[in-house]
Structures are given as C-alpha cells and as structure tokens.
Symmetry: D2
C-alpha cells in the first residue's frame, strides 16, 4: 500500500536512486487510449536533472520503456508497466556520509525504521523516486486530456521571500517553460533566478512554492468524506520529497476572512449550469469539484543537502561536522513543477474513474 | 472506500445530520485494550454543539453506544461499532433553502454528483458527520496513550487576523480548555473571542487555524512513499469540513528560508538515541517520525452559512437573495479542536500498527 | 479490512452473537435506488433461526433498521448503515464450555489469536455474524435486479450422501422455498429431510452442499487477474462459517474430463451476441462473465456442535468429555441458502460497478 | 486492484505473453531478509515451459532480474521489482485465431470487456502471466521459511480419472520432483503420465487436481470474517488460469459426513499447546490457523486449446471449425505445482504480517 496510490486508476512505484532502475505499474487505465512512449518522455525531460544551470549537474537521460499493456500503440486495459534505467551512479559520493546522518535528511529515520543503513541514506526518500510518479502521471494526464479535456498547469509561485503574480484562468505550459525557473511572471522569474544563484554561490539552498491549476473539470468528482478531492490532493502533494504545506483556494489567507468576504456567489453560465463569480473555494465544495478550476499551492522546504559545513551528531552520538558532497539542486521547485502536475493528474484520474462507477442508472 | 480511513486501524463512518443516527465501525483495534463508553464520551462532549456561547445554539446530547467488539470492558480484537442517535432535528430550517444552492456550501455539488436534491443540502458535508470521527478518534487516542504513551493536543492558533503564541513542547489539554475558544494563550484568546462575537453580531462568520502537536512518538512510523506520516495527516485534515490548508513543521513559512537556516542538527539524547536541536521538520523526515513532536496547522475557512443576505443564483439559474436560517457556528475552530485531535489519532494509530507489521525478525 | 468485503460496492460488518447488536455499513451503493427496510426483511426472515423444525429452536426476530443513506425511500449515494438488535441471549448456555475448546470450533484459535477467552468462544465465528451479510447482500441483490435484471437463486443441492437434480436454467425461489429444506427437487428434498431428522435424533449433525445460479448477466464483469469473478466468489463463499469447498461450472468433476469433452462451443444468439452451447465453464471465461449463467456449488461441513459426548482435551491439556449444550442447527444448508445468495450478490454488485468504471470512452 | 494481491505483503503483476516482458512489484516485504535472484530462479525453472516431454515445446528461459529493494543481497524494506523478458514469441501462431474466439478461451470475454481484439486473445488470461506469481511467491516462501520455518509442498493429486495417495505429513519436494508429472505416488504417477500421453496422441487435453500442504504454521494466522485463511486461499487458487474448484481439509467429501465423524478432537502436544487428533478441518478453524498443516486441493479443467477440429462460431456469428495451432500443454497440472505453491506462499505471508500487526501489547 505504501508504494501504491489510487483506488481505480492506481500506480505502484519502485526504485532506489542507486539500484538498477526506477519505474512502476499503472493498473486500471481504461482500454482504447492511444499511448506511446513519446507521450511520456516530455514530462520526464522536464523533471530530468541537469537540464539547465539552476538544477543539479547530475545528468540522467531517463529514457522510458513501456513493458506491457499496449498493442499497436493502444492501451489494452491491462497493467501498464514502465521502466527507467538508472545512469551516472556515483555511490562514492555517498560513502562518506554513512558515519553520520545528514541533518534534515531521511538517513536516520530510514535506518531506525527498516534496521538497515542504506548506502544512499534513505533510498526511497531521494528525488529519484519521483521519476516513476512523473511517468505514471503523464499517463493519467493523457487520459484526462483525451477523454475530458482536462488541462493541468503548474508553475513556480514563490522562491525564498519572493512571490509571483499569475493569472490562473489562462496560464499555459508554454509561458511556464519560457524561462529556466518555470515562472510565467517574468519579473518574478528574474528575482527567483537571482535568489537561487545566490543560494548556490553561498553553498546553501532555498525553498519555494509551486502553484497548480486544473481546468475544464466536470462537476461531481471527489468522494466524500475521506476521499474528498482536496484531501487526496493534499495526500498526493505532502507525499512529495521536501513538501511541507498544501493549500487549496483561499487557503491559509482565507482563514483570516469573514464569510461575507469569502463566499462564492453562484452565477448562471451560458450552457445552463451554475458557475461561481469568485473562486475562493478553489474549485471544490464539500470535497466535490464544482466545475471551476481547482487551484492549489504546495510549499517546499530548502533542500537539506548543502555544501556548507554543519555541526551535527553521528549515529553513535558524537559531535561531527557534516558537509554535503552529492550533486544536488539548490532549489527543488523548478523541477517540482512537472512532479506536482503528475500527482495532480494521478489524483484526478482516479477520482474520474470513481465517479464513472457511480453513474449507474 | 470513500467513507473508510486507515489501512490496519480503519474506521468506516455513516450518517446524515437529518437521518436517525450517525456512527461508525472501527476495525483492526488490537484485542485486550480496556475501553468503555466513558472513555469516548468526553471527546464527544468537547465537539458537541451548544456547549457554550461561541457555538451554535443547536443542542445535541450525543450519547455514544458501543454495539460490538467488547466483553467486560475489554476489546476483543473484532470490529467496534458505535452509534450516536440524532436529536433536535428541525428539517423546517432547511426547506426554504432547497430552491437555491447556498453559496460555498455543498448543496450544488452533492446534487450534481449524486443526482438527488437532499433535504439537508449535502448531508454528509454537514459538520454532524464529524461525530463519527471524534468517537473513532477517541478509540485511537486511547490505544496510542495506553500502548505507546502518545499525547495529542490541539488548540486554536488563529481566528481571523489574530494569531496565538503557544509552546508546543508543553501545551496541555487543561490549558486549552481553560477558555471557551480553546486557546492556551490567554491574551490571544481574548482577541479571538472578541472577533467571533463581532462576526456573530454582524450576522457574519470568521475563519481560523487549529494547531496540533503529537508527543512521545517512537522513531519509525510512516510508510513511504505515498503513506508518509505528513501525507496521511494532510489527507486526514483536508477531509474535514471547511479545511483549506495544512502545513507541517515550518510549513509555508519554511519555504522562504535557506537550507542553512532550516536544517535541524542532530543532538545526542540521554537515552542514546538521536534528537534534533530544532524541529523545523515538524517531527518527520522522509515521511517517517524522527522521535521529535509532530507539529502541524490546519486552516479553516469562515463558515459558509451566514445570516446576512447574499446575492446568488438558484438551481434554475435565476438571480435570488439567499439568507441563512439554520443554527450554525460563527466560527468552527473551537469545536474543530477535538476533531483535529481525532483525525491525528486515527492517522497515527494506523501507522503504528503498520510499523508493527514490519518488525518481523 | 478483515471485516470489509468489496472494492466499490463494499460492506463492513460488525457484531458478536452475545453483544447488543449485529449490523454493517454498505458504502458505494449508487444514488437513486428505491429502497426501504421492507426490501431487506424477507432475506433476513429466510436466514432467521427458529423458522421451522429443521433449524435451531433459538428464536431471533431479526428486525432490521436502516440508520443512514436514505431520503424518502431513495438511496442518497452515501453510506447505508443498518442494525439488527440481538435477542434471546442465553449466555448461560455457553459458560460451561469455557473450560475446554469445543472440537472443530473456533474457541481455541480465537483465544490464541486475540489473547482473549471470549464468553461465546469465537464470537465472530458464530453464524450470527451472517445476519449482516444477508442484509447487505439484499441491498446488492436489489441493485442488481433493478439496474441489470440479474436473478440469483440458490438451493440445497446435497445433504449427507444424497444429491438433488435441479435445472439451473429455470430454477426459481418459489420452488426452492416450497419445502423446509429448500430443495426444488421434491424427491431429493424428502431424503434430505429424513437425513437431517435422523442426525437430530442421534444428537448428531450432517453436512451438505448449496448450489447457486446467477442469470441475466452482461458479458464483461470480473477483473483479471486477482479479482476474477470466480476468485472473488470463492473468497466470498469460503469466508462463510462451515464452508469447506467451492466449485464453479464443471468443478472437480470437470478435472476428470478431456478438453474435447469439456470445451463450450460458441453459438450465435438471436440478439447478435455469442452464447455457448454447453456451460461447463459456469458462466466465466478468463475470470470474466460470458453472458451464460454463473453456476457454482459450496460444500458445508456438518456443524461442530453436537449433543453427543466427545472425548477431547481442555485448554490446560487435560482429557475431558465435551457435550454441546447450545441450541444449534443439525444441518446448516437450509439456512445457508439466503447467505450464499447474499455473498453472490455482494460479489457481483462490486464487479458490476468496477466494470462501469472501465467504460470510459 | 485487479492485478494486486495481498494487504501488507502485496504483489502487483504485469505482462502479456506477447509483449516485451512480464514481472511485478512486491511491496511490504520486511527489511533484513537475505535474498538474491538465485533464490527465485529455481521456482521459475519448475514453472518453465519446455522443461520435459509432458509440457509444451514452447521454450522460455525465464531469467529473472531484480530491479530494486536490495542492497548487498539484503532486502531494504522497499518495493522489490522484478522482470522476466519474453522470448520465443511467435505471434504468427495466433493470427489465424483472430477471426473466431477459441472455445472455452478468454478471447471473447476479453474483447467484450475491454473493447479491444488482442492479437493474443486474452493476453492476461495466458499462463504466461503466472511467471510473475511464481517469482513473487518465491520471495514470500523464502520469508516464510526464514522467519517461521514454514514449508509448502504441492503435488499432482489427480489426472483425468486417476487419483494419487500421498501422506501429507511428510511429503517433500524431492519426492514430488522425482518424476516429470510431479506426483510422489509412483504408481499413480505412471497412470498420470499415460493419461497425458494419450491425450496428446489424440490431439486432446486432460484435466487434473493439484494438492498442497503448508506445515509448521503458528496458531493465529487468518483475519475473520472476510479474510479467513481458507477464503484468501480460495481466492488465490481460483484466480489461476483453468482453476475450477477449491477444497480445504475434508472439502466436498466432508459435506457427506456426520459431525461425530468429522470433528477433530483436541490432544495435548508435548510443547504444552493443543493439537488435533485428526485434521478434517485442514489446519483452520473459524478461518484461523490452528497449528495443524493446512491442506487443500485445486481442480484444473483440461486446457481449452486442443489440436482436434471443433465446431464453433466466429465473432460475427457464422459457423466455423476451430483448430488449435499454438504450442500448449496437454495437461496443466505438472507446471501448476509451483504456481499453487507460490499463491499459497503469497497468501500466508500476507496473513503472517497482518497477524504481526495485531500483536500490540
């Protein structure tokens, strides 16, 4: 269960950063969907390390191979297994770390939980694990787009103390990818890039926020009371490495408002359905999509691995100085954009199928 | 699945506010735990409407009855079913609402999802549903306390624009319940009460934040990668009515920091284990408890039902003026305190049992 | 999980024979189904002890109460909770049994598993637990009948060494209930009744077989590879108290045949679909319904509780003589008929909804 | 869910016979278990086609590769993914079959369910799918043996009308593998081999029964009421291709007995626990292991693909003559022996971990 996400459209993932491969199995994807490896590769390329100067210099080509579930480029309705071979492994980078747990890393908790001191620290706590999420999420996004016209767009909304200003109704992937930091607000993007460059120069790291919108959703997705749309999105996002917060619609800021300021009045739409004038609800009411865009934000802490010396304690309880030697990103949010989109797609594809099952007449 | 939470310690809930009863079944509670209805009633009393002037005047006695799973006050290891009869139903309050969906309520989404216009709007979207969570959570909290000594304490951390200052290491239930608004910071409590009173006077409502700490946790709970501790807590909290945000440890504020500011250095504890000097991680690393207190915050929007007139649109698309007539809380957070504790307990009890299953030697 | 059955149409049950009540929650039943307690009571009456001279004299009225999920006799799509209060409890009957585990009963295994010596032996191993299955199954059967026209009919196919001869294509509930032993073959029914009477006279018990047919099924239900239709039916049936075997279609007898004797040739049906000339497959191919009737048989052992003295050993390992004193059936199969139908309906309703979720176009 | 088995020790499988690979992911295997590919290969070799003259001449080398979850030959507690590349594909064998569904094959039901006419008929209905089960089962069997000393041995118990006589208390794998037909009763083995040879000569096929015993089990495994040991074994076995029946202990024969003949009296064991004098219960009481060997039998139909001409109907409803051209086994039971053992191990490993989670003191 712990490596499985979803109830009807469900992915099970595997893989450590220092083993032979990462990958997963998507079970429950409907039959008859046109799908090839070329539909998945672009999402992996956006997640790939070494894609530009803001990310880790560790390079992985991350070629995906689909192992099952297809015939002549069409899904069979059977499990879709996929695989990405690991490359450019330098376990030597990690050997020196084994005497002391890296601060704010999962080395210590993994060791205590599993009783094994892994060469890579917490192998599944590595960002490498997210390759499988991105591949599976690309399948989900493809299904959502083909069958319901759903669009999912994420972007970097904050880096350190700076915040962007983005129009959620119209933001598009092209604008997001127009710069290395993946922020469609050009002015903010400049500040973000400066901030990340400064952190790297200081052998330090910096946190940030990714925002995401899902548009063209039908009314009715979401399964109260424990599988409400926002509940599953929250689980999905907080399962990401380095994620520390999630908010939907008005979020934390909304908790400071009055009801009369916060309520979204209904308006008649041209097609006879109801919409809302404002969208502080973030596209959900009572856990169910209301047809407005789902809008949410995810907070990511600064990466734990930094080049600066840090005073800490080794596994035996002796004081030590720890210095990060691996090749890591100074800021995770530019590469987190496709990962957030992937987890959003996995969540919505599952809820879409669960709603289909309710439509028995 | 949608009304079930947990994998090994799992609760399934039922009940609408206007049906005969609410309740649930806890399956997976270990045998041999001393438990009676008296262990559960106090939590329900803390959640009960009408308990003081800050809450709705709607009164429900909320007497719990346990229907199975016990013999002579000891759990048998079989399902524990429990029941709370509904009282003081005034469906008349709701009839007038049926022509138009209440803004920011679930009336419209429930109707579109299920194809039924329910007398109570979105029946399972009502706060009444949380009775079952509180009862089940009290069983979980009892198990956690008896077997592992875990303490869970939540409190009101913000109301409207005001915020409290609370020491998470020592905050106790007695201090929380010392005032009606359930905030252990007395100065903040006064501001909170004023804010809620003002909202009520204005026939309006106001939002707020509940914070929660879980102490005395062993290292090793949490199931990467999709059932990380913070991921399941996030799901649990965002499944609550009116919840719009979740953050653990440093949360959104942490995303503005540098890694050198954020990292928690390890320190040797007297018992030979490792602790951390600071706790910006919020008690989890890589999704696994590290022995430090879990600390998280949950944002709640202002209640959607307000007495003020609101311009909106009816189900047929015609402009209408909506006025709330039900008896509702002007602010949900004081009563949300035991609910947040309950969902925290359910999440941790499940992860506790899942870790037991891993300890095969 | 252990008291939950089903993935989309799922029931969770509770209750010991000597506690206050038995019941359950059905989650996932589609909205808009007409349903009242009167739709469920007849199935409970068929399962009820004391209904005729072939069954235990223990009488339970077994009145069902639905606690949630309905409005004006129509399902809301929310959980349907139901409750049957226990009556006529005579714990005194069981006290004498506590020194020694009853042979072939669950007293010993329950005690070893849960670490509790329950007053009722293995409380959830009692046939009383099946009340919840029958109630939930009646909801499932109602859904299957209303939405797809599915008919499920079970009957007693063997008692002791005698076997009936029944036409599966046309057998109907009226013919099944025409006699107390629930066998539509009148000649076999006489032999069955004689056999059960003889067992009772001898203070003994006797085993038997229940057969079941489900008709009017669409092609395509069943979820390979682990949730094949026959796999879930097998789980459902072997989860029943006293069940020792399951076979579908040709079953064990089919394993003695040649492929040329066993294969079901396809024939064109008037409606343009394909049927099969024979039905040795029992309505499933590759785990998926093929449109032919599902036919299966379930073997039940003789009840373990008999009046005769039996030489055995007590919990401390000392030789003892055990004599059954509870009021039990000399043969379970007549009352097992509605229970087998219920579990068949629960299995098929779940697979029906799972197939709906696959029909995304 | 449909390609996932198990709750805590869970396998998810993938792969069609005509795609690039088959394999799976085992999630939940405890950390610290010594495991290499060499521990799994022997089970695959026993399942492999072309291993002797009784099986299909189709040869697959079936080399297993483990992709994750290991470090220096020890499990990390993270998902174990494994892969077997397909070889010797001859899609040409199948092309001619596409005009008409093969009788008693899954071609028609797969097409109707998924809406795709697959080149291989029902790709996941192929025996090739069982490679993944055998590999995962070998991991489970290894865990059961290393941690609890559990032994699982299956054998061919019947072929066509002939039946073996085997001592379940002592039967060992060496004796099973002493002949090609995998029956430790040498006299029966000769009859079985003759029967299979005769079927092949006639361009026909023949059914059979596999029996299995699991020994050295602790008391207390099994999760009433829906995950009783025998219920999950029944699901596991009926999920196998060609399986039509399952019985545990006395099974169908036991349903003809009286209670006084059937009950298993308790006896004191030297170690202070209780055993039973006889084992008609088959090692389970109330769904929970009682410490006696689990004994069960699985009926397999004759393979549907035969060389003889069969009169049938094509997809369009026209009469056709069908002749099998693929390379298939005339009898599945010799190769089903390791598959039955694998599914038994997967079932028991999951129940073992589920019982560990209950042992909270």
């Amino acid at each position: 269960m712990s490596s499985t996400f979803g109830h009807l459209f469900r992915v099970t993932t595997f893989g450590e950063s220092h083993g032979p491969a990462v990958g997963g199995i998507v079970d429950g994807c409907p039959a008859g969907l046109h799908l090839t490896e070329a539909d998945l590769q672009p999402a992996l390329d956006r997640r790939r390390p070494g894609q530009n100067r803001l990310t880790t210099p560790r390079r992985e080509e991350d070629r995906i191979e689909i192992l099952s579930g297809l015939q002549d480029g069409v899904t069979l309705g059977t499990p879709l297994a996929f695989l990405v071979r690991n490359q450019d492994q330098r376990p030597g980078d990690y050997v020196a770390l084994r005497a002391a747990p890296r601060p704010s890393h999962a080395d210590y908790t993994y060791q205590q939980k599993y009783g094994i001191r892994a060469v890579s620290g917490g192998g599944r706590a590595s960002a490498r694990e997210t390759v499988s999420r991105v591949a599976a999420g690309a399948i989900a996004a493809h299904l959502l787009r083909e069958r319901w016209g759903v669009e999912i767009v994420a972007w970097v909304d904050a880096v350190g103390p700076h915040r962007a200003n983005v129009e959620v109704g119209s933001v598009a992937t092209g604008a997001v990818d127009a710069n290395d930091v993946r922020c469609p607000d050009a002015a903010a993007a400049s500040l973000f890039i400066e901030e990340i460059d400064a952190a790297r120069r200081d052998q330090d790291s910096v946190g940030g926020v990714v925002a995401c919108v899902a548009r063209n959703l039908p009314v009715g997705w979401g399964q109260p009371v424990f599988s409400k749309t926002e509940a599953l999105l929250a689980q999905a996002m907080l399962s990401l490495p380095a994620a520390k917060g999630f908010e939907v619609g008005s979020g934390f800021a909304g908790s400071a408002l009055r009801g009369s300021q916060h309520n979204d009045a209904y308006v008649a739409r041209p097609d006879g359905t109801l919409g809302t004038e404002t969208n502080r609800s973030g596209g959900v009411q009572g856990g169910i999509t209301n047809g407005e865009p789902i809008v949410f934000r995810v907070a990511f802490k600064p990466p734990a691995t930094i080049g600066q010396a840090q005073e800490s304690t080794d596994f035996e309880g002796k004081a030590v100085t720890v210095e990060g030697k691996g090749r890591h990103d100074p800021c995770v949010v530019p590469r987190a954009v496709p990962i957030v989109e992937a987890m959003c797609a996995l969540t919505l594809a599952d809820l879409a199928l669960r709603q289909e099952a309710r439509r028995v007449r």
